[in-house]
Structure formats: structure tokens, C-alpha cells
Amino acid sequence: MKILVGVKRVVDYAVKVRVGADGAGVNLKNVKMSMNPFCEIAVEEAVKLKENKDAKVSEVIALSVGPKQCQETLRTALAMGCDRGIHITTDKRTDYMELQSDAIAKLFQKVIEEKEEGIDLVLVGKQAIDSDCGQVGPAVAGRMGWPQATFAAKVDLDGDGLLVERETDSGTETIKVNSLPAVVTCDLRLNTPRYATLPNIMKAKKKKVDTYKIEDFDVDLEPKNKILEVFEPPPRKEGILVDDVNTLIDKLRNEASVLQ
């Protein structure tokens, strides 16, 4: 099995973002960036499959689209256990402002069709925590005409395909992916990503990363959804502390009018 894992460099989940006063987007200067948490889960699942002899994984390739700092994101993926990296370089913003999910999905398609023959499984996170679109996984599957299993909470090998338990609006459901190749998007509870150990970080330095310029792919990069403005949501009115339950009930009934 040959696995392609998407890894995105995003604002670290703990950062409180600020919108630039010019309305042109979230301020990313000097902000801590990290691998998207759901991409970490995707990498972990790929590496776990590689460690599973029954999966017969020949290679796990990590793919990232973005500026030169994506090399760090790829090195983390390599240190977690991926074999090789692909870096598609661009200075366009990938947090929805310039490069959007449709362009990313098209790039995945180009990599699968033109650069890496024989990809059996594409693993991506269910969404990126900056753009919050959650579109790349199903879009790649739709473009390739491949089966998809989104919001995966458990992935098992099943004959030529996979048995995936996926999260739904009212619990979980189990579906069978009849055969590979397929796309799986990874949800929160699929696994707990490992920390890259120091020896593996050192080993990762020797692993190969192929670099391509985004312009070298015949993909329309213009955002189809133009961002006219980015602004902060209206702030909530400041709240108060109440001393006891009686006061709380009184306020809810008489001030907020949410109780009979």
C-alpha cells in the first residue's frame, strides 16, 4: 500500500488570532505556527498502518503546500514516521484568503496522477483549523472518483478495502470501503499522535523532500470565492458574576427573560 498524507501548516491551535485593521485578513506576523492537529492524526494513522504488517505499506509520503517554512512541518511528519516528503512551494496564503480547498484538491490530483504512481490511500485531516472548510478530503475523492470515508474514528483493513467507523451527527456508523484506492479524513478520536522522539528527528533530516513550484502544476490557483473583507465578530456585552443560585434564577427570569 502506498499512502499519501496531507499536512498543513496553520496557526497553532492555542493562539488567539487578531484580525488586521485593514480588513485584509488575520494577522500572521510572528504568530506561532504548527501542524494542523487533524493532519497530525492523519500522519499518525499512516504510520500506524505502516507498522501493521498486514497493511503491507511500502511507503508513506507527506505532502504540504505553502511557504518555505512548510519544510519544518514536513520534517515533523518525517520524524513521526513518514518516509518521504513533497513540498509544493507558494507564498500565497493558505488560510482561505488566497489558496482555497478546490485548488489544494486539484494539486493532490496532479500529484496522484503525474508525480506519484500507485497511491492507494489518501489520508487527510477532517478540517484545517484556520479555514475550517473540511473540503479537501471529499473533493479529492470526488475528483478521483474514489470511495471516501470522512470523520473516521476507527480504520481497519478488510479484504481489499477498509472497514471504517465514522462519526455522524447522532453517533457513529460503520461503512465498508470496498477496495482501494480511497480517501479517508481523520477525526479527533481516531488516534493519539505520537511525539517525534529526538533520534527520529535526527533520522528525519536524512529523509528526502522533493520540492516543486506551485506554478509548475497546470492548476488554476485563483480563489473562486473572493474574500471581500475579514472582520471580527461583534463582541459580546460584558457579563457579571452572581453570588448565588437565587440571584442567578432571578437574573435569568427577570433580566434575560429566558425562564418562565
Binding site: 455522524t168 453517533g171 470496498n178 475579514v230 457579563g239 458574576l241
Partner: protein, 282 residues
């Protein structure tokens, strides 16, 4: 949301054989009853593509639920349109507002696609009123069934309580609840208020409650009239799932918890004392 978009025709693509087509929002002028053996993305997107090929809709909408988010991007890719997900406001036929960065920023977006594919955040729009409908009904069948995936089984919660995403009152528990049994206390409070019970990611990860109760950036987004956060610290990701609630109450004995920054009313008391007292006095 479709009504806010335009006053033109609205068609409903329906796969539920027991839908009563005489009782629908009056703005729906046509119902396409589609035969589908399952609601898997591969099946549904073929139906959507076929409907689109035959009828050339200008806009295709779906709820921004796990159900819609599974299907819509696949269908959009098949009709080569870049979708806009999680729309919270419609400013015109091609201009929408959607949250980014866990709702800490909002983007005004103009779609340049000839077919606009949108997923809609249900809490941001009023429900369309049902009424006597004279919508025409059509049938849609697929020429062949997809063989890429198969439905095996479902493990879903059944409840008599209001549905979490649409309840007007939500009581949520976090890590402070200490274990799943203690959630009984919250079910009791919710029942007094005719509300639903939700949870923070921490509570779900700790195994206190199932995943479909999770409220947050990657769980359910809720916007009830009243949201009571019990033993929840208020991480950015949780806030993103509930900060549009009309009134927010926080009960947490940690006065420094970030939840108090969004709460309209905060009670810094031990929840194991406050919640029973609140339930009793209501």
C-alpha cells in the same frame, strides 16, 4: 437560507420515502423524490449531479452538519464548483459570510462560480415555516447504484430530549463533571428546562459521554436562547461552538476560567452544590 438568497424557485431533493409533501415551506415549489439505497456520499453526490445536470440549479445548499459536510464537497467537485461551507449570513445571490479561525474572524465572501454550492450553519437562520404546500413532485432514479462503499451498521443515540443542534436550552458539562455518572445531574437540570445536554471535548475524550454530544469548533455548533456551561473551562475551541448563544451562564469554581469572559452570568461555586440547588429551585 435559500429563501434569503432569492425569491426564485426552490427545489427540495428528498430521499426520505415518508416525507409528507403536502406540508412544506410554501417557498418550495418542487420536490424531487430520489430513490437512494443509502445516504453515503458516493450515492448522494451521484443524485445531486444527476439533478444538477437535468435542472441546472444556480445554487445547491445543504446543512453544515456532518451529513452535509460529507456529501457536499464531493458533489461540488463532481460539478467542478468551489463550495462555500458554514455560511452564517446571505447578503445576496453571490455574497455570503462564513466564519474562519474557529469563528474568531468572519469572512465576507463573493462566489464567482456559475453554480454556487453552499453548506449552511443551521443555527444562523430561522426555520422556514411549514404550511400547506402545492409543490410539484418528481421522481429521480439512478441508472446504476454505486459500488464504491457500503453501509454496514449504525450506532446512534436515541433520545426523547430535544435535539442538541436545535434545542432552545442547552446544559453542557466539561471536565469538571469528573465522571459520566455525574452527567445525570445535568440531564435532570436539562429536563426541568426542556433542554438538551452537550459536552466539551474534554468530557467526551475522557469517556464521560458519547461524541455526538460534543459542542465546539469540530463538534456541534449551537446557538440556543440559554446555554449553561457546567465545569467547563472555556477553551477557544469550545467557545467557537457556543458563543452565539443568546444568554450564557457559567458555573465553575475556578474564577480564572476563560468561560467567564463570554458568560453573561457567572457563578463561581462548586457545581456539585450549585447544579442540584438550581434544579431544585426551578
Amino acid at each position: 437560507a435559500a429563501q434569503k438568497l432569492h425569491s426564485g424557485t426552490i427545489t427540495l431533493l428528498n430521499t426520505n420515502p415518508s416525507l409528507d409533501t403536502s406540508n412544506l415551506p410554501p417557498s418550495v415549489s418542487c420536490v424531487i423524490n430520489a430513490k437512494a439505497k443509502d445516504s453515503l456520499a458516493e450515492t448522494m453526490s451521484l443524485l445531486i449531479k444527476k439533478a444538477q445536470d437535468t435542472k441546472s440549479f444556480t445554487h445547491i445548499l445543504a446543512p453544515g452538519t456532518k451529513f452535509g459536510s460529507n456529501i457536499l464537497p464531493r458533489a461540488a467537485a463532481m460539478i467542478d464548483s468551489s463550495p462555500v461551507s458554514d455560511v452564517i449570513d446571505v447578503l445576496g445571490e453571490d455574497t455570503f459570510i462564513r466564519p474562519i479561525y474557529a469563528g474568531n474572524a468572519l469572512a465576507k465572501v463573493q462566489s464567482t462560480e456559475s453554480v454556487k454550492v453552499l453548506s449552511v450553519r443551521s443555527t444562523a437562520f430561522d426555520k422556514a415555516e411549514l404550511g400547506a404546500s402545492s409543490a410539484t413532485v418528481e421522481e429521480l432514479e439512478m441508472d446504476e447504484e454505486q459500488t464504491l462503499t457500503e453501509f454496514v451498521s449504525a450506532n446512534e443515540s436515541q433520545s426523547d430530549r430535544p435535539e442538541l443542534s436545535s434545542a432552545s436550552v442547552v446544559v453542557s458539562g466539561g471536565r469538571g463533571m469528573k465522571d459520566g455518572d455525574n452527567f445525570e445531574m445535568l440531564f435532570g437540570l436539562a429536563d426541568k428546562l426542556n433542554g438538551a445536554v452537550g459536552a466539551s471535548r474534554a468530557a467526551v475524550d475522557a469517556g464521560f459521554v458519547p461524541n455526538d454530544m460534543q459542542v465546539g469548533q469540530t463538534g456541534k455548533v449551537v446557538a440556543p436562547d440559554l446555554y449553561i456551561a457546567v465545569g467547563i473551562s472555556g477553551a477557544i475551541q469550545h467557545l467557537s461552538g457556543m458563543k452565539d448563544s443568546k444568554t450564557i451562564v457559567a458555573i465553575n469554581n475556578d474564577a480564572e476560567a476563560p468561560i467567564f469572559q463570554v458568560a453573561d452570568y457567572g457563578l463561581t461555586q462548586d457545581l456539585f452544590k450549585a447544579v442540584p440547588e438550581l434544579t431544585e429551585k426551578l
